[in-house]
Symmetry: C2
Subunit: 304 residues, 2 copies
């Protein structure tokens, strides 16, 4: 199960009723936060979400509207009695930017681990989740993220027998363990059928449309994508500022074949995004306007 919460859906500036774009992904007692602009901690409090469980914070890039809330967030996590390290993941420059911001949070009760992305595409573990960063196209170095929860195959006793696995090891192998027995290494694939469909969420903001987004969003249950401007007449501005139109996001969603798309990172000038939703829905019908606090629990197919 993955529990998603789009904490805010604004771009550039936090507004009274629209916090900055940020996504909280919860899975098996561990939380992963992507982007942390000014006010993200307030948005979390508004939803009653736990700070103590935040194990990982990822940044798409270091413009203020995606990271200015970090020192306050770390202080509040510190105040939640967390002692375990928090892993920070982001483009090159991560440690310099975070250490500079932490001039006002010099004594945290937990360690920070810095993981700088060095490749165009790079994968990480975050608790039970697989995390993949992929480079997008903004005015500064910027990444999108896919978060996946993989699902192993069903237990297959015929396969276990065919592989001569002693009965006493079936359970441990089924649960993902590895066993050494009689000079053999027994692994889970020896007792499991083919992997089943897992869960996948892709988040990208502050970018022009790119092939990397289409490729990495492919197969996502939910694709959360910036929609800075709703009106197609804003195309030139979108190109200049390296942002996106609703219709451009929808084209990518259609190409990637995602389950549904949530738009986010609206321009402060875009007061009622839903008025432009048809510009996206004409291209990709299951498009929804992200809203502060929009949440979804994703379950494996037969575990609804």
């Amino acid at each position: 199960m993955i529990d998603l919460c789009l904490l805010g859906c604004g771009g550039y500036q936090p507004l009274p009723y629209r916090y900055l774009t940020s996504l909280l992904v919860r899975c098996n007692g561990s939380s992963l936060l992507i982007d942390c602009g000014e006010g993200t901690q307030i948005a979390m409090k508004q939803k009653g979400l736990s700070f103590r469980q935040i194990d990982t914070i990822c940044f798409t890039h270091y413009h203020g509207d995606h990271i200015a809330g970090l020192p306050g967030m770390l202080l509040t996590i510190g105040n939640s009695e967390r002692m375990e390290p928090v892993t920070l993941i982001g483009p090159k420059g991560l440690e310099h930017v975070v250490r500079s911001l932490c001039v006002i949070a010099p004594e945290l009760p937990f360690d920070l681990k810095y993981v700088e992305i060095t490749e165009n595409e790079q994968t990480f573990k975050a608790g039970s989740l697989q995390l993949k960063a992929f480079k997008v196209n903004h005015r500064v170095l910027c990444y999108g993220y896919s978060v996946s929860l993989n699902r192993t195959g069903r237990f297959d006793p015929e396969r276990a027998k065919a592989n001569n696995i002693p009965l006493r090891y079936w359970s441990v192998l089924q649960k993902g363990g590895t066993v050494e027995s009689g000079g053999r290494i027994l692994t889970p694939d020896m007792v499991l059928g083919p992997a089943r469909k897992g869960l996948k969420v892709t988040y990208t903001t502050d970018t022009r449309p790119t092939r990397s987004i289409v490729e990495n969003a492919a197969g996502s249950d939910i694709f959360i994508c910036e929609g800075m401007y709703g009106d197609d007449s804003m195309k030139q501005k979108a190109v200049e500022k390296k942002h996106m139109l609703f219709s451009e996001a929808a084209n990518m969603a259609a190409q990637a074949g995602v389950g549904e798309m949530w738009l986010t990172h609206y321009s402060p000038s875009l007061v009622r995004p839903e008025e432009y939703l048809n510009n996206a829905r004409a291209i990709f019908l299951p498009t929804y306007a992200g809203k502060d606090g929009k949440s979804r629990v994703l379950n494996f197919d037969d575990e609804e």
Copy 2:
């Protein structure tokens, strides 16, 4: 005229319905902001206040809840088309702290002027306002601020005549100008009666009670003072954390003989400050619980 707005009234952490303590003082088209925690810019937007007019930002100290909102605030001021410099005033370390935080706001369209407080008490000009910083007693170096709008005496033609001021200079001297005439320097005091009562506001937070507060708050129309804890049984915690009880704030207000007191910088654990208001009112009756957005226009006595 001074126009005050207590933008928030929280301490430690911004909450969904309580922004962090910050005061905006507007006078003659110039705005002065004291403290700028995370969310202060959202509080300003909620009240529809102009960012372009912020000429001065003062800091009491550099704990995150008083300064974490600065980079976002500066970016938003920059977005308001301001080109004129913004003056920053605060305790020693100001430039280091601000430059570190501005790692995410590297290209502002205006200059920052840094004014570090070097004395226990120090005065500054901020537009038409007189600003005085005075040292208080917190876990780190911390200052309170008094903001005054002085008022000259009435125009006194008898005095002008007695000083042999030519009629043609009366108006310019009355308006505060200085004139050289026939080898004499003519100054406003030569045509004005005694100074009249001006306006004064004092703001102090994150401190134990001090003599400096009582002395500097004396004669204030409004005294805005931290009230971290309402319940007198929290005394020991207040002493340890170097904060204040409502009753301690009220004692200072009474000693200073202020017009009225607004409490602010409540502990997040203090959900309903008004329930403890009587602890202050028993000592100083005109005590009010500060609320987000609490505003007041102060006029000279006969200009209501």
